[in-house]
Symmetry: C2
Subunit: 207 residues, 2 copies
């Protein structure tokens, strides 16, 4: 485990103080992205908002992209925790209940930090090609396809892969658009959307 030479010694936080610095930097990145947009998120500004010097920033993050990537990881982690816990129940439920649960969870996930999610989804892609979100969706797709296969006899569709694609893409788009653009305010609006989306998907799968 030979250390890289002194010319690029990006460190890993080991002490308490440095942990706090790293956290502050990631948090500052999130705040700036949300409040001022990607263009204003310069490394100097991020360090300033974090109450840290630029030099410290570069001790832990080799580039600006690494900082954004860390933020995305943190957000994905939070989403994953919400989703995985609630989805465990669904895999053994009948289709109607499972789909309803899936839609509800999707809305919940999008509501975790909507503004951050929005920025991450609509402003970030240009950064190199951070396909972490895409990876996330692929997991979601595989999970759903497995579920469909476990209920194959109840499902009308022939190509379960295609069916999974149709369902996952639709649910994602509906919940994403509703939460981030149309702004679901009331609980009634949310329940109406859950009802409609469930009807859409269940009808497609079973009728």
């Amino acid at each position: 485990m030979a250390r890289k030479p002194l010319t690029n010694p990006r460190k890993y936080a080991s002490q308490d103080r440095s942990r706090a610095t790293v956290d502050a930097l990631v948090e500052a990145t999130a705040r700036i992205l949300i409040r001022e947009g990607f263009d204003k998120a310069s490394t100097n500004r991020i360090a300033e908002v974090a109450g840290v010097s630029v030099g410290s920033l570069y001790q832990y993050f080799p580039s600006k992209e690494a900082l954004v990537a860390a933020l995305i990881d943190r957000h994905n982690q939070e989403v994953r925790q919400v989703v995985q816990g609630e989805l465990a129940e669904a895999v053994n439920a009948p289709v109607e209940q499972a789909v309803r649960k899936l839609v509800a969870v999707a809305i919940k996930a999008h509501r975790i930090d909507p503004k951050l999610h929005y920025v991450l989804a609509e402003q970030i892609p240009r950064v190199g090609r951070l396909e972490k979100v895409e990876t996330f969706n692929r997991e979601y797709y595989a999970l759903f396809k497995d579920y469909l296969e476990s209920r194959r006899d109840e499902i009308r569709a022939v190509d379960l892969g295609l069916a999974a694609f149709v369902c996952v893409t639709s649910i994602e788009a509906l919940t994403h658009t509703a939460v981030l653009h149309h702004k679901i305010v009331s609980d009634e609006a949310m329940n109406a959307l859950i009802d409609e989306a469930t009807r859409l998907i269940v009808g497609y799968l079973m009728n």
Copy 2:
């Protein structure tokens, strides 16, 4: 029609030569966005690729954003021509046929210049807030809602606005994702998607 003062005299192309310059600039913008991404699309580079000087660029486009906006307009124009022609027939057709037509047209529209569409959809939003695409979608939504109202007695849904949202969002997401990410190659794949999407939407509207 008082001209703006000399301090901001961005002109409007009137001669043949200047028309060609403007076209070359917009075309160069498209090429760079597609081949090198947004970050590489500097005004100096755009002018260079267009075979034109930066000074000429700023004679017709007051800012870099104006250039991108012009490109978006050009693309939207092309899409609009394809969509409006083909959609005129659909408004008088029964639901099943109309939806099928709608899906087919959506795929066709996304296939006009997929790479440009991709860049425009996934990399551009950060620019100021070019909501031209959103405007486009709103038109699409209004049109579909009108259609649903004209067939109200055949439709099962209560809230036609919500139903239109569900349908338009799903169709857009399915065709967008299929064409730009999953890459529909064969005609069979395309027809399969049309079948499935039609079944999804028609089932939702009528069963």
